[in-house]
């Protein structure tokens, strides 16, 4: 019952009085806990029914206590559930806050003789029953990580004081740093004793989306969502306290879902590392009967590299978005972080194949719930068993990388660490992916642009290149962009090297004759005007950068000393030579300590040039007007002349 205890009601401190303790343990025993501490579904269902609470309330109870997330009732969940039922029977809302105070024992009709009989009516709990049944059946093998947690509630039970049932991962995430959400399963469980009410509600709320997403996989429709929705409303205000991660819950892909997606991917394309072509994917997703604009939007979100085909991670993203959409989730405007291909969640576990064979989405067929509730329950189980995926809430996707499947990290405590460590490399990779997606090579036949640009702009400024890659020779704007990303003291250099780290080495630059001409023109006049001096520097820089790319392969270290050499060298007015980069570095005449200044100057030059162009245009227009006016004047004067003799004479 590691899962149970872990998932449990999540860190709720519930103070149990002696009578309650006895009663609850009695009830617990009554429900036939199995060896791992999980309670028999039938017994629990019976007990819940006996409480004579409305089905909706029982649903809420199940969610709040965390059993829904887990898929079964462990000791922790059970106790909390009992408390919640007591609260509900008294009339308090089903929330963990309610259980903080003193409550009478819950009433179970016909179960415990010492409990009073209260309400004769008991609405049928068709929903809760299959849910509970479902939640208790199909127990997936729990990862060993959960086992340590199992002992926790047991030991805490011994203390006759407040104990904090381990919190299911879903609850803990909001308190933990967002990076750790789904993972610090075990870690948080032990520590989150303060997450009481909030957490209690959070599971309720979180399990809602979870329930939504998982049932959706089973094409469960809204029948079960209604009670869930009320739960959502009740925990809505607590959601604000939750960190942003919460809202992303539906965007996590659980193991089961991933397994399902994998199978679907294989049906379309046997090789997991290959791409699914656009048309193939289109036909496949069209079967989901979503409107085409939405599918189009989903495609845009998921095709990160914009290649018109889906890799496996992209496919999972798209599938997951479709699933979420089918279950009523609005499509996000941008791809949630956990759905990005660069997102890596350690501890991703492949679901046992038995679960994966169940249809998560029935595409053309029935999309209605029906008997799928049971499946939903078992899915809940599956999902709760996931160590890394914070059970219901985090049906968020994680690493889209194909290597997800082999990763199985037994120790939950490793997960947070690993997650952090993977997240860090991921963020640059994500950034990389984003940059790549934005800046993938574009093949325009735009050589003429280059020519035109060259003609238009003066030679010293390197003409903007078409988006081959973000090679440093591309427009200065890009350099500025990279520079702004905060690369350090030597922005351009680092940005260049960073860029080179991200992208393949830039192609060799086409020769720039004008630059070399400038070289030959201004060897002697380096000390003259600043602009004149700058020009060879620009040219130098372009050459320098060109050489830089070759340098880069040798490592970044050589660049620094080379660059630093520029300063002493630049003192001397050595004529620029058009030979190797070392010569190019030496040709810097003036001191350009950071390339940033050079860039600024280049920008200033461009601005000035632009202003010049504008003013020139203005000038020409004014000249024309002047001519016109002049002509008028001439005509008027001639007319005057004609008239004057008349006047004078």
């Amino acid at each position: 019952m590691d899962q149970g205890s872990a998932a449990g009601t999540g860190g709720t401190f519930i103070s149990l009085s002696d009578t309650e303790q006895r009663c609850y343990s009695g009830l617990y025993a009554l429900c036939q806990p199995d060896s791992s501490g999980k309670l028999a579904a039938g017994k629990v269902a019976e007990l819940f029914r006996a409480s004579q609470l409305p089905a909706e309330t029982l649903h809420q109870v199940t969610e709040v206590c965390g059993a829904k997330r887990l898929g079964y009732f462990g000791c922790g969940q059970f106790y909390v559930a009992l408390k919640l039922m007591a609260a509900a029977q008294v009339g308090l809302p089903v929330r963990l806050e309610s259980v903080a105070g003193e409550l009478p024992l819950p009433v179970f009709v016909g179960i415990m003789n010492e409990l009073e009989m209260r309400y004769p009516n008991h609405p049928s709990t068709n929903e809760s029953q299959p849910h509970i049944l479902g939640s208790l059946t199909g127990s997936a093998p729990r990862p060993p990580a959960d086992r340590p947690v199992l002992r926790h509630p047991d030991t805490s039970m011994d203390k006759q004081e407040a104990w904090s049932p381990p919190r299911s991962p879903g609850i803990s995430p909001p308190r933990s740093p967002s990076a750790y959400r789904s993972y610090p399963y075990g870690a948080q469980r032990n520590g989150t004793d303060t997450l009481l009410a909030h957490d209690g509600n959070v599971p309720g709320r979180l399990s809602v989306p979870q329930e939504n997403s998982s049932p959706s996989h089973y094409s469960l429709k809204l029948q079960s969502e209604h009670p869930v929705i009320t739960c959502v409303a009740s925990v809505e205000r607590l959601v604000e306290r939750a960190e942003i991660d919460y809202s992303d819950e539906p965007w996590r892909i659980t193991e089961e879902q991933r397994e399902y997606y994998t199978n679907q991917f294989r049906s379309l394309q046997p090789d997991l590392n290959a791409l699914i072509m656009g048309t193939v994917a289109k036909n496949f997703f069209t079967k989901s009967k979503l409107p085409i604009p939405e599918l189009s939007h989903i495609w845009e979100l998921s095709d990160v590299d914009k290649d018109g085909a889906l890799t496996f991670p992209e496919f999972c993203t798209a599938f997951h978005l479709i699933v979420a959409r089918k279950n009523g989730y609005p499509l996000p405007e941008t791809l949630p972080a956990t759905l990005r291909p660069g997102f890596v969640e350690p501890g991703v576990v492949t679901v046992p194949p038995s679960e994966a064979t169940e249809p998560l989405i029935v595409f053309d067929d029935k999309m209605m719930p029906g008997a799928n509730q049971l499946e939903m329950g078992s899915v809940d189980l599956q999902m709760t068993s996931r160590p890394g995926v914070t059970a219901k809430q985090d049906t968020r996707d994680e690493s889209r990388k194909p290597e997800f499947s082999p990763k199985r990290i037994p120790d939950p405590h490793e997960k947070p660490i690993q997650r952090v460590s993977t997240l860090k490399p991921d963020s640059p990779q994500e950034l990389d992916a984003n940059m790549k997606s934005r800046t993938r090579p574009r093949s325009y036949s735009s050589t003429s642009i280059d020519d035109a640009m060259k003609k238009v702009e003066e030679p010293p400024t390197p003409p903007p290149r078409p988006q081959k890659t973000h090679s440093r020779a591309s427009s200065l704007d890009l350099n500025k962009l990279f520079q702004q990303s905060g690369q350090g003291s030597r922005p351009s250099q680092h940005s260049l090297s960073a860029k080179s780290g991200w992208l393949p080495p830039p192609p060799a630059l086409p020769p720039r004759p004008p630059a070399t001409q400038i070289f030959s023109f201004l060897p002697g006049s380096e000390k003259s005007s600043q602009k004149a001096v700058q020009q060879p520097n620009f040219a130098d820089f372009s050459k320098f950068r060109e050489e830089d790319s070759t340098l880069r392969h040798q490592g970044h270290a050589p660049q620094k000393p080379v660059r630093r050499k520029l300063h002493p060298e630049s003192e001397s007015a050595t004529p620029p030579s058009a030979t190797p980069y070392s010569a190019a570095t030496l040709t810097k005449s003036t001191q350009r300590p950071p390339p940033k200044q050079k860039r600024e100057i280049q920008m200033a030059i461009r601005k000035n040039r632009e202003t010049n162009a504008v003013l020139t245009r203005l000038n020409s227009e004014l000249q024309q007007q002047l001519k016109v006016v002049h002509r008028e004047r001439v005509t008027l004067e001639s007319q005057l002349e004609l008239l004057r003799p008349v006047a004078s004479t």
């Binding site: 656009g278 085409i292 018109g308 405007e333 050589t447 035109a452 632009e610 504008v614």
Partner: protein, 139 residues
């Protein structure tokens, strides 16, 4: 920044038109329509040369007293037209070119989407967001 951005398909039917002061839209639609003539003129003028020698950026198509119209045509004869305010003299040619480049990029992204049928109006939110960044922010 641009006042109006339009994407016109090969057959000269509009795929996407967006202007900033939305009440004066019709005027911009007319402007874009008349600018198509200029575009045709420019691309047919180089028609005898090979397609790759024709540059994609057409530059200033024609100025009016209120605004200037710039054109850009892709290899598949899809035209982008940007209308900018004349009073905004600080707009460099380079900036216009970069705007067209961005447009072209996001247009190819839209094209890559298998759910997009060429000839349909462009309804992509990503494309919209790119265009919004280029439109005049002041209003």
């Amino acid at each position: 920044m641009a006042v109006c951005i339009a994407v016109i398909a090969k057959e000269n039917c509009p795929l996407y038109i967006r202007s900033v002061p939305t009440q004066g839209e019709l005027k911009f639609h007319y402007t874009v329509h008349t600018s198509l003539d200029v575009v045709e003129e420019k691309i047919s003028g180089v028609g005898k040369a090979l397609a790759d020698q024709r540059e994609l950026y057409l530059g200033l198509l024609y100025p009016t007293e209120d605004y200037k119209v710039y054109g850009y045509v892709t290899n598949s004869k899809v035209k982008f037209v940007i209308v900018v305010d004349s009073s905004n003299t600080s707009l460099r040619d380079n900036e216009i070119r970069s705007m067209f480049r961005k447009l072209h990029n996001s247009f190819t992204d839209v094209m890559c989407n298998p759910f997009y049928n060429p000839g349909d109006p462009i309804q992509s939110k990503a494309f919209d967001s790119i265009v919004s960044t280029m439109m005049v922010q002041a209003c």
